[in-house]
Amino acid sequence: MKEPPIPTEAHRAIEAIWRIESARLIAGLARLVGDIGTAEELAQDALVAALEQWPASGVPERPGAWLMATAKHRAIDLVRRRKTFERKYEELGRDLERDDPGEDMDPAIDDEFGDDLLGLIFMACHPVLSKDARVALTLRVLGGLTTEEIARGFLVPASSIAQRIVRAKRTLAEAHVRFEVPFGPERVSRLASVLEVIYLIFNEGYAATAGEDWVRPALCEEAIRLGRILAELVPTEPEVHGLVALMEIHASRLSARVGPSGEPILLLDQDRAQWDRLLIHRGLAALERAERLGGAMGPYALQGAIAACHARAATAGETDWPRMVGLYDAVAQLAPSPVVELNRAVAVGMAFGPAAGLELVDALVPEPALKAYHLLPAVRGDLLRKLGRFEEARLEFERAASLTQNLRERELLQRRAAECAAERMAG
């Protein structure tokens, strides 16, 4: 919102309504005017009008329809002023006739709402934009988050986020990105870009790459909400359900993976009674949906299946590690990467003993992509410790601690190193 919210009842109501309505408002307007920048400006204008009028007049019965009608009238003024978009003007005129704001507008909105929203998602996540730009624009126009809220989520100055968004809008306009819902092979690649953005948002909240907090739940919540919305918009796309499954199951552990003083608790050490059964249930159902749609081998569905494998085990000791190795094999075939190999090595270490795991991890040590990756020495340290090689393990944990950017994680790794030193003394 442009203005800082004044905490009167009406203003708080307007803020909540904005959260509910802004995405579909911007989506509907973007379809009409063709670009996100103008659509968002028009939506903001309507919001300002609401802030001016509603505190005195009261919130209208259909606030969404009011905002849309107001924004459309402004769109007409704008187009008149610009006098260039003759065709758009005609379209707008037709549209306004159909959606007489005095009448019940809901049926018309409902019919187009889904497609509009999908079009907006595809536009905000367009591959022509950098990842950072896609993330910021998505949170802004689809999440209804303010620039300040996004900045807080990513620990960057608000001015950087504002700049990112401005540049993203300009890039979209310059590349003449059309407001559309792609079909066929293009849809597959465009959808992959959308899923990537949602997962990036989730991950930044789930394992903050920097800063003092280990998790930032607000970002996780936003990502899951976007995933759930997308799953309703494109219910036949298995990978969407795969991603939702992955996020729901990971989120089920949110409160279990942080200790009383904010320190991270690793998966196998977590109190599973604290896992949120409802989210696990939802995640498993989403995974089943992905598999029923023939998407069991999709990259997100596979990661969802790995998460589900943990979720199904009542205790860490009951984890089906051989199955986990098989799932990582499949991921490695689909999208080979050193990080996947590292995860696979962990599973192998659990399934077939630490020596087998260590052999795989040692092979990864020269990998340039993992040179500064703190989890490589962390995993290596863990396997060495299990083999009773405490001094080597301690050095690995120290190394891992020096590589992580996250304060909480560093403390945990330093604690592990200290434990190894103590075990060495005792042994």
Binding site: R19, P217, E221, I224, R225, E232, A251, L254, S255
Partner: protein, 115 residues
Amino acid sequence: MRVLVLAKEGERSVAATPPTQEAMAEYQKFNEELVKAGVVVAAGRLTSSAEGKRVQFDGKKRTVIDGPFAEAKELVAGYWLWQVRSMDEAIEWLKRAPYDGGTFEVRQVSMHEGA
């Protein structure tokens, strides 16, 4: 944050007048909108309190009380678990529900960091 929405619609036994088809359609439309917006995490309707039980605790003693229960206005007939960003958002959604009677209580689920 998660909120629990309790529908205190009073006693609605199965024998009472069932909701009209129109009312059901209205409700379904509203519920669908909530689901599409990613708000609904769980939902359910409860059967009549005549089929319900209460267990009272008094020290070591447990007393089971059979329904129906008398305080009709306080009886919960259904519930939603919603994922929203604020209590205000929950209230804005709830105001849109197509009901013409009853009281709906919105309570925040505490200590929950998930979604």
